[in-house]
Assembly symmetry: C2
Homo-oligomer: 735 residues x 2
């Protein structure tokens, strides 16, 4: 890999490394009553642009400015080789100091960036790192750089399309494909695709087993439940191992120690570090702990709020679909759906805002800690919105419906606006029977329908919206141009295509891999928790994930700005979440198997036959057996050496052998001097040496002790005498 | 610390580093029928002694030979400074290659051993390591060195006594005391004493709380149970942190990667390592896995066997003490005790032998893995022998005694040998009542009586036996001397005391810290599992452990050979055991509180009032709350920085700052060239440079793109124009 960008990026991007979108429209500002506000904004914008371009020039970048639309302009950045070499070298030294690299990078002569991602990352670091770390400290939308809207690289369309064509033809991505993703998009996204690929590969087994189980064993089979739980455990442990292997292969193992400053960190005070003597801004962790304790009431509020919403809609749905028998039933069935679809997003949004605020209050020093804390808070919300409905059906509706249904009459109020008084009287719930297939239908919905809908919403709809937005923008610009009689901007014909592409890309949102990871982990949860209900769940997921990998790649290329490559050596807190879901899966699977093994109707066809303590004992044993299996799998997995680990170990061994070999040579040369031929000199010499160091001390008894047998031959003589004086009678002769 | 031994060891040991006990008595050999067997043994012994002394001389050691008793002689070894420097240097290089040290040790000029323990360890390594690792490969009792009975260092009596006097006066050992233990005995034993000290310190809180709980809250208090469980969690996590801190302080962190070869390893075949090209003897891990699966039936057999023994004795005891009312009752009560005391050790010994055999079959490559595997197998045996009795009382006797007692009549057979037929008829179990205090009495026994008896058996009795053995040996030697008319050996008056001491020490057994660790961990188990029954358990342990630390030190000094210092950075598999015990404690504590909260008599005074499912639900919630608390404590603890970790981090920070500072200086010098004054040269120069590299290619559009604004000032002009052409109407003028 050469250091010039020309080998990595085709000419289509004109060697542009980054584009800065600079806004000067002042869309949010009120015109000042004094007038001249326009001009003040304009002067401010011009001054900031001055600062920006000067800063970029100071760190050695080439710049070009082009207009974009009415309120923004684009600054194209390109890094000349010298600055880039320097930046790459600094970054590698930083890695070495933090222990990520074993060999100290050579001086200024170290080679340039090894991949497109490393190049982009180095440049981004130069642009955004604080000055004391050697960067230009350009912080988009913040502080001095308010007008800088975003800094983003350009998509490499040719390569993207080549890959999409290639992958749509094959089932599995190879290791080289994943390496290529990493070379282009960075390790964080590379890890996501590697995870998706591993998950996809692993899904073949439960898909096959689930299918045969569905054919031969029926539903709620204990054998399937056990195999499913063991599979979940093995997959999670396998992925942990893969992370280590990939970390070594991509040389990012341990990169979590590097952290980027959280720009919203508000330190309480500055403290002089006793050991280094420098001032460090700190926020006491005791205060943070107190705010972290607020997570508990937040979780409770989330559970209660979302739970109430879901439970209420659930109850209304049961009432209308199974109890109510009056007119308009087919239309009224949609009421709970409408309620749910409106209330749930609102509640989730409110809770998300609260979680964001709480995380900001916790005031983390690094961006990574901040993100992890936010993800952890949102876990409760995610779990409830994804799983509570099925939980209610499985563990509340089926066991207790007969008791609860009479109380559902309160929901007549939902029906009242639509039907008259007399018709209401026709509601009769003595005919109510528990629908045993409700649970399965619900699981099928989540496993198949919801996944398809989700893929469409995620990939297809934004794509269409994007195209419409572009068309609308073109249309309104043409209209404006026609009014003014001249085109908005006058591009050189050479650059017209590039600028059109860049303007479109500048409008795209920024990509966050967390959302895709969340989606995959929640999907894994359905598999782990509820697939005993319908064993074809993994089959559906298998097909979905083949499509998901390719559609996610399509989404990144077409619907988001090209992400700035970031390094990572793990998928983060989602790994713990996977383990947690596998754990909960052991509990729910055992409970489901026990409760429903006769199609949910108990031994006598009566759903109320579930014994409390047998259920709890089943859960107790299932969970602890699961934990024991997990322990065993963990230990076994840690013994297996992946190729990267073996290679790393071999390299260390070689190095070790070489150095010890050199020492052993020295060792044997010196030792060979003290051989049979001249022992006297060494012993007496060392004794004399010791004696010399103690010239001021008296002669010690130990000297006399050690002087009695001057060398080993004399010792041997004494020893032989002792042995020979041993007689079978066991008495020693005189010495 | 100087390199000469004189500063570390007082003159009393005459600078002796190690003593080799060499046997030539051939105690196990049959005299050959051909005769001359004596002479053959003697020749063999002499030849081995020749080898031994020559080998020692080859690696540069000084030797002295003295007689010991009728069948052994002693070889005194002392290492001259030069060989020692070399050995220490080799050992440090090995540490560096394995990543244990951050700085490469300087060449031959690195300083000598820093402590007595390092010196002894270096010498021991030189004596016993394989030849390819630079050692003499002397393996006691094995192979070529069958006659070498043991290699051991000598106790430093003065220092030992000074410390014992010092510690018997104070309550807490300081960090410096622990450092001293480590300097003398090595890190493995240092970790044991550090653990004991931490455990002792931590016991103050549950002792105080237990005492006040005993006074104010009574028995089986839920508050005490909760506080106890939380304390267990906090202690285990705290100790994990302490291990890290100590590991950094004693510079042994990560030393687990160094491993010593297992001498009994029988490889199956040799395989050429693909990466290094050398032949490695291996034993396939798949075969090992199959043998490891045998642990499961072993555990089951252990549970059944020991469980049967204990349960039977338990049942007999209940029968005799609570049902039987005939004559000789006071004497018959001892039958189960006698049975237990005889059957249990026999079963334990048999199971220990089986475990040892299984571990050997598993054929581990390193000694460390072998030891860990053995400890894990024995865990089941240890748990059953220690805890099953109380489990039976708490969870079988109290809930189910009324059902079981009628079946105990079968145990009349134990009474029959002692009483006549008519007296037997007086057995009446209608008067049987569950003794509610039985459980408490049992726990008091284990917490107080058993601990005292254990300390005596461990420390006092062997000491007395030792003294008696020495007296007996002197007596029999005098008798033999009187028969032969001459003394056995003729010591020089200077050396008489030393040789007497060495001969006594040579007879002592070798110390293994595992037994003491096991004892402490089992004790922790009583605290975690059963202290809700009697809240004064921690008080008793507090006193016991103060004594334990000092008596264990006394035991090491007086009743065992001085241990060869070993390095360790953890207490090993016992750490996982502590966590497991804390976990089980949450289950048993919640169950005990629920079952016994009214003195075991239920709400209506009837012990049969325990509801199954409430019990299971209580356990379910208690256990999961415990796991959540453990997770939280883990995360919180990992945020706390101990002093060593802070220091290490500060050192790295300093280093980092220095190196990056140098780079930043270079950076700014170069960057300052590209300032306002002379921008043209840099940009044109870099463009020309790029152009030079592409002499064979055509002029590319990107060159034209990047050539339009030659420097940042031109870019600024263009940008300013764009901004100024922005009008409030939102239409841009022509460029």
């Amino acid at each position: 890999m050469t250091t010039s960008p020309s080998a990595d990026e085709p000419q289509g991007n004109y060697d542009v490394d980054y584009v800065v979108r600079y806004t000067f429209g002042g869309t949010g500002k009120q015109p000042s009553p004094l007038g001249g506000g326009e001009f003040r904004d304009r002067d401010e914008a011009t001054e900031q642009l001055n600062n920006l371009l000067q800063t970029l020039a100071d760190i050695g970048f080439l710049t070009e400015v082009r207009p974009s639309d009415r309120t923004t302009l684009l600054v194209f950045i390109r890094a000349p080789e010298k600055s880039l070499l320097r930046a790459t070298h600094t970054s590698r030294v930083r890695d070495w100091l933090y222990g990520l690299r074993n060999t100290q990078p050579g001086g200024e002569s170290s080679p340039g960036p090894q991949s497109g991602a490393e190049r982009l990352r180095a440049i981004h670091y130069m642009l955004t790192a604080p000055v004391e770390d050697g960067g230009a400290n350009i912080t988009p939308k913040y502080g001095q750089w308010k007008n800088v809207d975003s800094i983003f690289p350009l998509h490499d369309d040719k390569t993207n399309q080549a890959w999409m064509r290639d992958w749509s033809k094959k089932t599995f991505l190879t290791k080289e494909d994943l390496d290529q993703i990493r070379d282009k998009f960075g390790e964080k996204i590379g890890f996501y695709f590697a995870f998706l690929q591993s998950y996809f590969r692993f899904l073949f087994f439960p898909a096959l087993f689930g299918f045969s189980s569905w054919v031969m064993l029926g539903y709620y089979s204990p054998i399937y439940a056990i195999v499913n739980c063991v599979w979940c455990v093995v997959f999670v442990e396998y992925w942990k191992r893969q992370e280590v292997d990939l970390g070594i292969r991509w040389q990012v193992r341990g990169v979590s120690v590097l952290s980027s400053k959280n720009r919203h960190f508000k330190p309480e005070r500055e403290v002089q570090d006793k050991t280094t003597g420098e001032l460090r801004p700190i926020f006491p962790w005791t205060k943070r702990l107190q705010i972290q304790l607020l997570q508990i009431p937040f979780a409770l509020v989330a559970v209660i709020a979302l739970g109430a919403v879901i439970a209420t809609c659930f109850a209304i749905e049961i009432f209308i679909s199974e109890v109510y028998n009056g007119p308009l039933k087919t239309y009224l069935v949609f009421i709970p759906t409408i309620l749910l679809s409106s209330l749930l997003p609102i509640s989730s949004t409110i809770l998300t805002k609260v979680a964001t605020k709480l995380t900001e209050l916790e005031n983390y020093e690094t961006k990574e800690e901040h993100d992890v804390a936010f993800i952890q808070k949102m876990l409760v919300v995610n779990f409830i919105t994804s799983y509570l409905a099925i939980f209610l059906t499985a563990f509340v509706y089926v066991p207790f419906a007969n008791i609860i249904v009479p109380y559902l009459d309160v929901f007549r109020v939902t029906v009242r606006p639509f039907v008259s008084q007399e018709d209401e009287k026709t509601i009769n719930h003595s005919d109510f029977k528990i629908d045993p297939h409700r649970l399965r239908k619900q699981v099928i919905y989540f496993a198949v329908t919801a996944q398809i809908v989700n893929t469409c919403m995620e990939t297809v709809v934004p794509f269409i919206m994007r195209k419409l937005a572009i068309k609308y923008k073109e249309y309104s610009e043409e209209k404006a141009n026609n009014e003014k009689g001249s085109p908005a901007y006058d591009d050189h014909p050479d650059e017209a295509d590039l600028l059109k592409k860049v303007r479109n890309e500048a409008d795209l949102p920024e990509y966050d891999v967390t959302d895709d990871l969340r989606e995959m982990v929640i999907q894994f949860g359905y598999l782990s928790l509820f697939s005993t209900v319908w064993p074809l769940v993994p089959v559906s997921f298998l097909f979905n994930n083949w499509l998901e990998l390719r559609s996610d790649f399509f989404k990144i290329c077409k619907e988001f700005k090209r992400p700035v490559p970031e390094r990572a050596d793990t998928i983060g807190p989602w790994l713990d979440t996977l383990g947690l879901l596998a754990w909960i899966g052991s509990i729910t699977s055992s409970a489901l198997v026990y409760m429903f093994s006769n199609e949910g109707l108990g031994r006598h066809g009566n759903a109320g036959e579930i014994t409390g303590w047998v259920l709890m004992v089943t859960i107790f044993f299932a969970e602890h057996i699961y934990l024991a299996v997990r322990y065993v799998v963990e230990k076994t997995m840690s013994k297996i050496e992946t190729p990267s680990i073996r290679q790393e170990r071999a390299q260390k061994l070689l190095l070790r052998k070489n150095i010890l070999g050199t020492m052993a040579d020295d060792h044997s040369t010196i030792a060979s001097v003290g051989n049979v031929d001249g022992p006297d000199e060494i012993d007496r010499a060392s004794l004399e040496e010791d004696a010399r160091t103690r010239t001021l001390q008296e002669a010690r008894p130990s000297d006399r002790f050690w002087g009695r047998q001057k060398n080993w031959k004399e010792s041997l003589q004494i020893g032989t005498k002792i042995i020979e004086s041993y007689q079978a009678t066991g008495v020693k002769k005189q010495q």
